[in-house]
Symmetry: C2
Subunit: 115 residues, 2 copies
């Protein structure tokens, strides 16, 4: 390392927490947490998603019934205003973090230029 | 956004370029570039890797012969001192960029706590 990159990483993290993208996600998650129906829907959706991903990673078969049930749950979750808002806030914040990675990877990719 | 996160991202990028991990990769890549044998080996390895990944993504079959040829090329490449050094330098720099992502994702994950 030698230069202290951690100062810059920590400064960036502090600024990230102040962005409108970050605070919007905080508010959107709080809105879901405090709405019984939205919270139950979101939990069902996330638990099913994790269960299916787990099966997929283990190479286990996912039945048509399971997939159908998951799709219905996903549809219900996405149709909920508060969950929808939260998913959009997640995407916006992800976009910002992807931007960090794009900026950091640019000089790394440049190293390989001409190879 | 509202706060100017780009200043912090750009400062971090500037510091990243000064880390020993970054300059070590620059030197390791330069060493491969200026060694005819290492460069040819690395290019064969990378081109084959991209070709096979492309086939895999398209769902095309990869023959046993192709796989065997790839493995031999990979073995030869990794056995080359200069390429080996470059691959290690890549991993060290990747570790640093993963660390940035870990630090940034920590407050994001905290938002979901208790859900
Ligand atoms: Ca809606
Ligand atoms: Ca060796």
């Amino acid at each position: 390392m030698s230069v202290n990159i951690y100062d810059d990483i920590n400064r960036l993290e502090g600024t990230l927490r102040q962005t409108t993208e970050f605070t919007a996600l905080q508010h959107a998650v709080d809105a879901v947490k405090s709405d019984e129906e939205a919270l139950a829907l979101f939990k069902s959706f996330r638990d099913l998603q994790m269960k299916l991903q787990d099966k997929q990673m283990k190479g286990e078969e996912i039945s048509g019934e399971e997939l159908e049930y998951f799709q219905k749950t996903a549809q219900l979750a996405q149709g909920n205003e508060k969950i929808e808002k939260m998913l959009h806030a997640e995407m916006a914040l992800s976009g910002l973090i992807e931007e960090v990675n794009r900026v950091l990877m640019k000089p790394v990719q440049a190293i390989y230029e001409g190879i």
